[in-house]
Symmetry: C2
Subunit: 214 residues, 2 copies
């Protein structure tokens, strides 16, 4: 099994955490999205028609989109299950995961920031304000959801779930970009708990083979 | 059961289609996101901590995020199942759904377009180019995925799935915004098939109680 990944991509980071939690061994295939490797024909035709990372390949099978990949891994390698089967718990996990994936991450990913830079010619200050605005919007929602429905030490109790796989990369990115996250103490408590876990540690950008320091 | 919805919200539209396909009766609770009703304290505290539409409420239970809602509906009202159980088919359905939800819709939704207008002061032409750029990026991916893995008349065969619930509102929005979609014939064939279906018809923005013409 191969994971097509970029060290600094938070969607790749989600899947790396899931693979590490499940103890599934995989080959790491670096795809440099900064230089556009994800748009090359061989990759789009042969690996991921979405032209994005991450993508998981396993023989003839190939799959893109991080949340779909974790769902597939749950079917194939059910221990530990990252999307709970119990309907209400499952709903809560998917709700937080989709909030992070759709409402927060996608507005702040590399391709959007590049568009702001190169097409709209925004200033560095405007780009930073944009980033912080969407982090604040999204984290406020996450914090309210976790305050209402969450249960520490993980987002939803004694075991990590897909919600933690999404939250940790998002918070790591926000910290790297200089966001102040003091207003989200529940989310930060989960983050601090998670990063000391061996699977979350092994998945961090700085430990990937394609890591380059900023 | 109540659906908190805005007629023109494509994420609300996804859930309306799912409810109609399953024949689940619900009360329609309009939430005007243009005037910020989704940010009012009573709504955020009592209905949806994400401060967004759609939200589904059922007695004490309340859930936001369209894909999480459809997953929950599948558990509660399994017929017809919109997220297939068979692992590979399931993976394909979730992949297309997440591509639309995360990579395409969220970059072009109302709050992002408002930010472009009011904070970055872009011109109407720049805003239109932004919208069309992300539609083209996303639809290219969807079209490649459907060409490779899809099976008409629906995205994935003889029955509609979550992928169709996501694709149809996205295409309807893109057409409304004047995008040219000639380059995506497979996606458009699914769209034309879908809109004649009674459930997809009943869910369209123009037939909702809060509809106002542009």
């Amino acid at each position: 099994m191969e994971l097509h990944s970029f060290f600094n991509s938070s969607t790749s980071y989600r899947v790396r955490i899931a693979l590490e939690l499940k103890g599934v061994s995989f080959d790491y295939v670096p795809v440099n999205i900064r230089t556009g490797e994800h748009r090359k024909e061989a990759y789009v035709e042969g690996v991921n028609p979405s032209a994005a990372v991450p993508a998981l390949t396993d023989g003839e099978f190939s799959l893109g989109q991080s949340l779909a990949i974790v769902d597939w891994l749950d079917t194939r390698y059910p221990e530990p299950q990252l999307i709970p089967a119990e309907p209400e718990q499952r709903a809560r996990v998917l709700e937080v995961s989709q909030l992070i994936s759709s409402d927060m991450h996608s507005v702040n990913n590399l391709r959007v920031l590049k568009y702001l830079d190169t097409v709209l010619n925004v200033t560095p200050e405007q780009k930073s304000e944009w980033y912080k605005h969407w982090v604040a919007e999204g984290m406020s929602g996450v914090e309210r959801l976790l305050s209402k429905y969450g249960r520490l030490p993980w987002c939803f109790g004694e075991q990590p779930t897909l919600a933690d796989c999404c939250l940790v990369p998002q918070i790591a990115n926000a910290l790297r970009m200089g966001c102040n996250l003091d207003a989200y103490p529940t989310s930060m408590a989960v983050y601090r708990h998670a990063i000391s876990h061996p699977a979350f540690d092994a998945a961090q950008p700085g430990l990937q083979p394609d890591f380059v320091s900023p």
